[in-house]
């Protein structure tokens, strides 16, 4: 009977390697590098974003005459212009208000409704499914539907309010109510998705933790704030990040419903960029405004990740 010692084993391994040629070994080694494996996707993603980003930043320092096609370097002129532009400042303000409304009110409702719907009963599941549908409907369609429903004269909303003897509203036609109306639609549209995320977050919290809380004589409110919210914080955090960035880039409901009106009450950054660039052909200004938009959204993400991230409990 022959014995196999350590030396023999290494010998076997060498033999095995020798069976492959140099080309095989080269690719074999290369494919062990994770960066090589994600490279195709990364190249496409970076190529499309980085190129666009660089081009955008570059163009924000230029004046581009659409008739002659001539581009001239104007330094910070475009930035100076937009920051002195009443309309830009208004749209900046509107965007911030819109974001605060949709993000905070939205997240609060998503969590509350999520907690309420988190029961595996047929009715709860049905409601959850129905709530999700707006998310898969194109925003354009939603905007059209709401345009009719929120019509101050003869719209469903006001007719219902009138029937219930409640005060009616101007909705998107009123200077004061327009931004709120858009925020309402935006929250409504994202509700189903948010609730779904919240419910999946809630399902990840083990039931025995709640039982321990019951034995610890924690009431409903206390359980919600001291157990559910902290354990749901990664989910809440995710919703905060995605919805705040989403709010800043809101464009389609504005374009479909209000064109920024009435009296610029719903003029928002993304719409400003669109109008400057594609209507007034002020490419430089549009690019400068979109760089501002970029800085704000990246800033938001950074703030979210650092400040909120500290309070987030990751298990």
């Amino acid at each position: 009977m022959s014995t196999i010692d350590k030396n023999d084993m290494t010998h076997f391994r060498k033999l095995e390697l020798k069976q492959h040629g140099p080309v095989y070994r080269f690719f074999n080694n290369m494919l062990k590098n994770p960066y090589v494996l994600i490279a195709p996707a990364e190249i496409i993603a970076l190529g499309t974003t980085i190129f666009a980003l660089g081009y955008c930043i570059f163009m924000s320092f230029m004046k581009w005459d659409m008739i002659t096609g001539e581009r001239t370097f104007v330094g910070l002129y475009n930035y100076k212009y937009i920051f002195h532009d009443e309309l830009f400042l208004t749209s900046l303000k509107n965007t911030i208000v819109f974001m605060i409304l949709t993000v905070f009110v939205g997240v609060i409702f998503k969590v509350l409704i999520g907690v309420f719907l988190n029961k595996n009963k047929p009715l709860h599941n049905l409601v959850q499914t129905i709530m999700f549908t707006p998310y898969i409907i194109a925003t354009v369609a939603i905007a059209v539907i709401f345009k009719y429903m929120m019509m101050p004269n003869g719209g469903v909303f006001n007719s219902m309010l009138a029937k219930l003897h409640l005060p009616t509203s101007e909705w998107y036609m009123g200077t004061k109510s327009a931004l709120m109306s858009l925020a309402f639609i935006s929250i409504w549209q994202g509700m189903g998705y948010g609730v779904l995320i919240v419910i999946s977050g809630l399902r990840a919290i083990p039931n025995h933790v709640y039982e321990a809380a019951r034995l610890d004589k924690a009431g409903r409110t206390k359980t919600f704030f001291k157990i559910t919210v902290p354990l749901l914080s990664p989910t809440i955090f995710y919703l905060l990040v995605t919805s705040s960035v989403g709010a800043f880039t809101t464009f389609d409901i504005v374009a479909m419903m209000t064109d920024g009106g009435p009296h610029n009450a719903t003029y928002m950054l993304a719409y400003y960029v669109y109008m400057q660039g594609l209507r007034f052909m002020n490419y430089g200004r549009a690019m400068a405004a979109s760089v501002v938009l970029l800085v704000i959204t990246s800033g938001l993400s950074i703030i979210n990740f650092t400040l909120a991230g500290k309070k987030v409990h990751y298990q």
């Binding site: 321990a212 034995l215 354990l231």
Partner: protein, 344 residues
């Protein structure tokens, strides 16, 4: 504090068969009562009903003569340790213990004293500011214990608290648990499927099978005089060998009572062939094919696989069971039909 379950019925919503019916159990004040039985027999259900985490379908539960059937878990003056610890993952060790105490509106000074006391008692003082994720399994178990102790409850309910620990830690925690019981001297209700745990820790053992209490007694009682064949086969390492007789009754003997070699005198004589031999340190666990099934004995004598053996069990070591599998003093006679195992 005596805990009484009176004529309890429990049927989970959406199931067709009740877990238990007419379940009566009295747990003596200050006892270390172990609910012991195979998986699925209803131990956890019984414990959770005492805790108030599960509703009873029918019947009443009393703690200290007070009907607590409709009382919230938090107001039953009990503490529970779960199998998976159920500590709050987002709170520090201290926070975990404080949480309940705050809800009971205990004064700040007193909370601090109690927390420091239980941390010292469970050897967690230096870990008080750590999060559960930074603790080992044994330490988390201690946090759960500390949290329970801090409430100075009248009774501790524990559901397989040691089953997630490795063997060595389990032995250690077992001894700590006994020390804790001796120190606190309050009622412990302990659920396990492990008869060794039950025998070593309990002052009282309640053997449950299919939602029915088979026997309620001291460890000595359930070991030495099992009420029926199920208890006889469930208790012991391994349990009793039972032979079904042509008359319908059973004769049984404990694995350690079988002597190897032919012998004279009154008793049971069996011939068989060794199937397996497992070395257990002090002795061997030997599985023997006796023709109508396999039996297991424990013996210090070295035997070889396939060896033919004569076994002798003295008359005094024999247990008899009637055709309903209940223990009887009446000697059961008849030819051996088969080796019998209570199915579980």
């Amino acid at each position: 504090m005596a805990i009484v379950m009176k004529d309890i019925k429990k049927q989970y919503v959406g199931t067709t068969k009740p877990v238990m019916e007419h379940f009566d159990l009295t747990i003596e004040d200050g006892s270390f009562t172990v609910l012991l039985g195979p998986s699925g027999c209803g131990k956890t259900t019984a414990l959770r009903m005492i805790a108030g985490l599960e509703d009873v379908t029918d019947g009443r539960i009393y703690i200290d003569e007070n009907d607590v059937t409709d009382v919230d878990p938090g107001d039953r003056n009990i503490a529970m340790v779960f199998q998976n610890y159920a500590i709050y993952p987002h709170m520090t060790v201290r926070g975990n213990i404080e949480f309940g105490l705050k809800n009971y509106k205990i004064e700040k000074e007193e909370i601090k004293q109690r927390v420091d006391y239980v941390l010292a008692l469970t050897g967690l003082s230096e870990y008080s500011e750590r999060k559960p994720a930074q603790l080992s399994g044994g330490q988390r178990q201690r946090v759960a214990l500390a949290r329970a102790i801090s409430k100075s409850p009248k009774a501790f309910l524990m559901d397989e608290p040691l089953s997630n620990l490795d063997a060595k830690l389990r032995t250690q925690m077992r001894s700590e648990m006994i020390q804790l019981y001796n120190r606190l001297k309050c009622t412990f209700i302990y659920v396990t499927h492990d008869q060794t745990e039950a025998m070593t820790m309990g002052t009282d053992i309640v053997v449950i099978y299919k939602g029915v209490i088979q026997q309620h007694g001291t460890p000595e009682e359930v070991y030495k005089s099992p009420a029926n064949l199920f208890v006889a086969q469930f208790i012991g390492d391994p349990g009793m060998n039972a032979l079904k007789l042509s008359s319908g009754g059973f004769v049984g003997f404990k694995p350690r009572e079988a002597q190897i070699g032919a012998a004279e005198g009154d008793g049971l004589k069996i011939k068989g062939k060794v199937l397996t031999r497992e070395y257990m340190g002090y002795d061997y666990m030997i599985t023997i094919d006796i023709g109508c099934g396999n039996i297991v004995i424990r013996n210090k004598q070295h035997v070889e696989v396939d060896q033919e053996l004569d076994l002798f069990i003295p008359q005094t070591a024999l247990y008899y069971f009637d055709e309903n599998q209940n223990r009887t003093e009446t000697v059961q006679t008849g030819s051996v039909a088969e080796v019998f195992h209570v199915d579980d």
